[in-house]
Amino acid sequence: MQDAKNLKEYRKEIQESLNNAFLRQTLDTFAVAYRAGRTKAFAEAGIDVKSLVAEIAAAKDGMLPRLMELYDQFRQNAEAAGVQVHFARDAAEANAIIAGIAAATGSQKIVKSKSMTAEEILLNHALEDQGLQVTETDLGEWIIQLRHEGPSHMVMPAIHLSRHQVRDLFADVTGAHQEPDIEKLVKVARRELRSRFAEADMGITGANFAIVETGTIGLVTNEGNARLVTTLPRVHVALLGIDKLVPSLTDALRILKILPRNATGQHITSYVTWITGANECAAAPDLKKEIHFVVLDNGRLEMAKDPLFSQVFRCVRCGACANVCPVYRLIGGHRMGHIYIGAIGLILTYFFHGPDKAKNLVQNCINCEACKDICAGGIDLPRLIKQIHVRIQDRQGHPLPGLLLGQVMKNRKLFHTLLRTAKWAQRPVAGDDGFMRHLPMMFFKDHDFKALPTVADQPFRDRFPGLQRKTVKRQGPAPPVKAALFSGCVQDFIYPEQMEAAYRLFADHRVAMSFPMAQSCCGLPLQMMGEARTSREVAIQNIRAFEREDVDYIVTLCASCASHLKHNYPVLVADDPTMVEKARAFAARVIDFSSFAHDVLGLTAADFAGDGKAATFHAPCHLCRGLGVHDAPRALLRNAGLDYREADESEVCCGFGGTFSAKFPELSAELLRKKLDHVEATGAELLLTDCPGCVMQLRGGLKKRGSRIVVQHTAEALAARKKTNI
């Protein structure tokens, strides 16, 4: 639940969660076990996950234009089978309809099976206000109902609680002594809830599918309580979002193939229940169950019409986007969401519960893309989260730092002058601002969990002409590969030596290089701050800067820049057809350092004289997930003659996240701590990575620890071990 009025209060709540040792331990164990279990489930079944996701996405997208038509068909088919179908525009209407059904049927006692949609509309409160007795029968839901809490996970609502807390709770409920023995506690729930089933008048469920062609609903559960809820009481109400419609059984079975595997690593849940029409019910006067389907809009139709947000309809509520989120793992669902949690929770909160509930939440995304990578519907979650941030700022006003940054960055010359003068100020590069990866430090105040670098004496752009003079002669005529370098601001102004290392390595391999001087910051920091307009302007400046370069590749050593240039530029200028063409041509040429060195230049062991140093690699989020590059850097390090050692969780975020580390330093520091623990455990002397922002974060963290591990960009490690020297 989100009650924090501002970012400060929200950060206070976050700190409380960070201090909850049980929660931290549980979520850590879960994060690791989940990844392994999920991978195994898909591998065992021989499923090509990417194409399955693409099929699900295509099927869902395809039905949106005829959504209301499909709804009508579903209604007709369900009605023909004896179901009463209601449409509810919002939460209040849905609650009123369900309370009305209870009144009309004389229902007093209600049993429920798990439904996130019911949580969304706070159905229990509404029914209890009418004097009805509502009992959740899913074990986790019952536990949190008894504790008057909301769920902390969409699939495991009570994951934040320990057996001792459950024992205390059950002792209260039964008025008897209980032991902290999970097996026994489960049996207690079984008996306690059985008596509730026996006396209930009405059962309420959600639905995972609403199949148009037959008017069937499908329920995916493990405990079996939904079967009792839909069987014993004489009235059954199923509440479902209109996004649960699927045209055919094929569509439902396809989703069923991914849902349990992605949710919990199960091939299928214990029960999948398909209900069509009013089944036999001995407790009803005419021996037929009275069934109502309440189909909920509550912001969904608006979403369906939105060109960007309509993809949210692909969500199957598997919860995986929380399972892999490094922020969720630190603070749990009560802080990483309002009612819906995790990446999708940040988005749904905005649509279902409004900007006030969402405004702090949407800033708490480090943009690591882990959620996007795992999503069963292929939803571009980080982009949507960012876009909501933009919308909220456009409505509620932009904070000063973002505006200032935007003003400065629109004007490349001013921006670069500021960077140059920063060095004269002789202060550690800006504080906190994670945004240092790209940019001027002057706008943010300091945080001190990592040591910060200073601006270099001479930026790369000033060194480039000298480097060119030295190499061009030696390279001889017409080198085979032509590449333009994109430095990004951090490597230009803070770590020019990384660019130089790459330059020397490439020069040896007969790459003709250029460095368009009109290039500027890639614009990602602006994007992260929700400054969409200036981010777009900067993108156009860069596209223009490279437009006339006669090159095959645009190489960047920064994985975040690469991913942003490649994936976001065409989207940022989508409203301008001529710019889109240019942006696509630009994006097609963009390549990251390791892929260029490994795949294009084909560097092998023969190119290096290695020294067998123990080395490990941190995979930047935007390299492994943003660009899908996994093997190239590791192969290069092995080829360079290093003793390569893979660290645990090498593809988990280091906590930099650009401006994120400025806003949530406590979360950034925790992610960094975990990362460095894994790095140190390898015994490596050298830690390599493909992103200057990660270098800054990792170096700063290791320095604070007093560690002797050296952090370098992969390019530096390779250049130092290269054999030839033109």
Binding site: H177, E223, T231, W274
Partner: protein, 213 residues
Amino acid sequence: MTETLTAPDVDLTARFSDKARAVSAIVESVATLDAAFDYCVDLCGRHGACRITISGCDESLSPPADSLCDLKQGKIIAAPGLAPDQFAALAARCTDQGMTCLHSGMRDNLSGVDLGFTIAELGIAETGTLVITCPDEDLRLATMLCEYHVCMLRRSTIVADAFAAERRLLRYMRRTPDYTAFITGPSRTADIERVLALGVHGPLELHILVLED
């Protein structure tokens, strides 16, 4: 989608059994329906699956939950889906052993029965899943309110995956009203500390008897 309800496929049966066992189901093969009945009576009697008190009733409960526990008297096998002659064969065995055998009236036994016996329509090899259509309320309840669920599955009805049974499933759904259940392993939860516990609401054990037909 094509239907693959053809000759018995040894591979499918093996795959089905592996997958079902992987989720804690017990899979055995039987030669005849009578052998399946023997299995039930044996499980309930000699193997002690049936007890006077049912699971959870030994725990400390609140008075209303506890009073439901008192309802059950003696050992009960429920088999509502059987044809009259089949039921008679099972009931005779039960009477011999001093057990009650129910063909209907599950609502009078909400505290639970010891064993529920059913016959599946289909088996899905990919996930070790049983498909049981149960618009009949007693049949439905028999699969939920029992401590042990014993389900007979004809080998010839095992299909590769749910898509292979799609036309059939659609046929069930169109014959409204319909209540089709996919059942895979016993009822389970991991809601407390993510520790797996079986039998939270439904059966504690699922026994699948593959009939060699």
